[in-house]
């Protein structure tokens, strides 16, 4: 089931939140939806779910608008930043309310509670839950209808490292089941390892989209040598001088650099392959803002 966003535009009064945004989330892929805070990620996701009416443009899931889906919550599950729970309700009671609304039954509520680890605090009032527990409960709610598409808005917000690690594994498992997942974040560390594709937006406009590997660009070679200057003059490509004895070389492999050094009798103290992280690519893309 693929998700398509075409020319989505929304302004709140004079402030334009999203402008002519188009992208696609391929069937069965995990797509990272990236952008700094305030870039319009939440507004976009809420428009995809029919919670906010766009000024123009469309968002379709499997060819239909969210509200036109035969059983929306059985097709798309969403975890949205800023959704809450009634403080009196226990975690399980919250799930039961929505299990009833979606006609999934109490047994399904118990099932998703077990799946997400909510069962360990099922009988606690939601007012007493930690951020991590609330995030799990949100995920459990989204999974009630066993949806093929998941839209997750900043699901790792406020989670501790343990929670982030759990979420990463959990998302990977969901993806392995062939679900289509769009997960937004302003922090890349948890997306870079999970997402096949990325969509990057800034100030409500598309900045980049494509496979994660392409976005991050080619690797470079980092060398440390007492004769760094000499080595530099023997290379067939330009190199960045990072320090008196350190170079970053683009467009050569480690083997080529080592061979060139040996041919000229240059000693190397250190030679490493430097893979550009998505984080760097992301910061380069949105650099103007931060």
């Amino acid at each position: 089931m693929s998700v398509e966003v075409r020319g989505l535009t929304k302004a709140f009064g004079p402030v334009s939140a999203v402008t002519d945004l188009s992208f696609e989330v391929g069937d069965g892929t995990v797509t990272g939806f990236l952008g700094p805070n305030g870039a319009g990620k939440t507004t976009t996701m809420r428009m995809m779910l029919g919670l906010i009416a766009p000024n123009s443009g469309t968002a379709t899931i499997d060819g239909r608008r969210y509200a036109d889906l035969p059983r929306p919550s059985a097709t798309v599950g969403a975890v949205l930043d800023g959704s809450g729970f009634h403080p009196d309700h226990t975690a399980l009671h919250h799930l039961r309310v929505y299990a009833r609304m979606g006609r999934y039954g109490n047994a399904r509520a118990t099932q998703v509670a077990e799946l997400t680890g909510v069962s360990s605090f099922a009988d606690r009032a939601t007012r007493t839950l930690s951020t991590g527990m609330r995030q799990r409960l949100s995920l459990a709610t989204a999974l009630l209808g066993d949806p093929r598409v998941l839209l997750l808005d900043e699901p790792s917000n406020g989670l501790d490292p343990e929670g982030i690690a759990w979420l990463r594994t959990f998302l990977r498992d969901l993806a392995a089941e062939g679900r289509t997942i769009l997960v937004s974040s302003h922090v890349l560390s948890e997306i870079g390892q999970t997402a096949d594709h990325v969509v990057v937006i800034r100030q409500g406009r598309l900045v980049a989209t494509g496979p994660t590997s392409e976005l991050s660009g080619a690797a470079a070679v980092l060398v440390r040598s007492p004769q760094a200057d000499q080595l530099r003059s023997h290379l067939r490509v330009p190199a960045d001088v990072l320090g008196p004895d350190t170079l970053r070389i683009h467009g050569m492999t480690t083997a080529e650099v080592a061979t060139a050094a040996a041919a000229h009798g240059i000693a190397l103290y250190e030679i490493t392959l430097e893979r550009p992280t998505l984080e760097q690519a992301f910061l380069n893309l949105i650099g103007d803002d931060q």
């Binding site: 507004t43 779910l49 029919g50 009416a53 919550s73 009634h86 009671h93």
Partner: protein
């Protein structure tokens, strides 16, 4: 079928909160309070009022129960606005994108809750009233059938007030604003309106006037007539009062259902 699952969900939502415990307490309490007043006897009030053995005395007591009508109205308002206050509205809208579905389900659920509230309060009041009369060995100034009918009318009015309160909550959404607005209207605004010359003529058609017609409690209208030295406005008949009140509730519900359809949930 979809509507029934939405109503079932709203009912599940309601019973998971402490609101219904407070509602039950309030219903029992207001009924019992009427009983307590019956035991004391209207003739011992300050200022003294006609005793239980007069028709007027029984009317006064039942009217005081009617005076607690604002409680179910505010409970209805609180029940609806809690969804906005605790931001569960997002999840609800995701599970039922046709927003009229869950709003109608809410209004139906809370009207049912309001009717239950009214029946509990009336039943307790009836028991207490007849009990107090038996204890004090007086014959009530109204036949038992009339008393029961009046109490049933109060219960019905309470259900309609809950609907009105719930609809007002759905329109205003902010819990505090909505509670203040509903409370202020019921307590002050209509009373103040009645002091304006001319408004008195339409009083029978205002919510308060229609309520007075439905519950048979005309104390307020009479008191104002006394103070302004004019004759009391003739109220509508009870069924007509009920119809007017139902009309207000339905109009409020229609606005409540129509308004949020065009609103963004951010």
């Amino acid at each position: 079928m979809i509507a029934s699952s939405a109503i079932a969900a709203e009912w599940t939502r309601l019973i998971g909160t402490r609101l219904w415990c407070w509602a039950l307490l309030a219903a029992l309490g207001s009924g019992a309070f009427t009983g307590l007043l019956a035991l004391v006897g209207p003739e011992n009030f300050t200022p003294p009022m006609p005793g239980l053995d007069t028709a007027q005395g029984v009317h006064v007591l039942l009217g005081l129960l009617g005076f607690t009508m604002f409680i179910p109205a505010l409970l209805g308002t609180a029940a609806v606005t809690t969804e906005y206050r605790h931001r569960t509205i997002t999840t609800t809208a995701l599970f039922a994108p046709q927003r009229s579905t869950w709003l109608v389900a809410k209004l139906v659920t809370y009207t049912g809750g309001g009717l239950a509230y009214g029946l509990i309060a009336s039943t307790v009041a009836a028991g207490a009233l007849f009990g107090a009369a038996a204890l004090k060995d007086v014959t009530l100034g109204l036949p038992a059938g009339t008393v029961v009918a009046l109490l049933a009318r109060i219960a019905l009015a309470m259900a309609l007030y809950t609907l009105l309160g719930a609809a007002a909550g759905a329109i205003l959404r902010n819990q505090v604003t909505a509670l203040v607005a509903v409370g202020a209207y019921l307590y002050m605004i209509e009373t103040l309106l009645m002091l304006m010359p001319g408004v008195k003529a339409v009083y029978p058609y205002l919510p308060g006037g229609a309520t007075a017609a439905l519950t048979g409690f005309t104390y307020l209208a009479d008191a104002i007539a006394d103070q302004t030295g004019t004759s009391a406005t003739a109220l509508l008949s009870a069924p007509l009062g009920a119809a007017v009140l139902l009309g207000y509730a339905l109009i409020a519900a229609a606005i409540a259902v129509a308004a949020p359809l065009r609103r963004d949930i951010t």
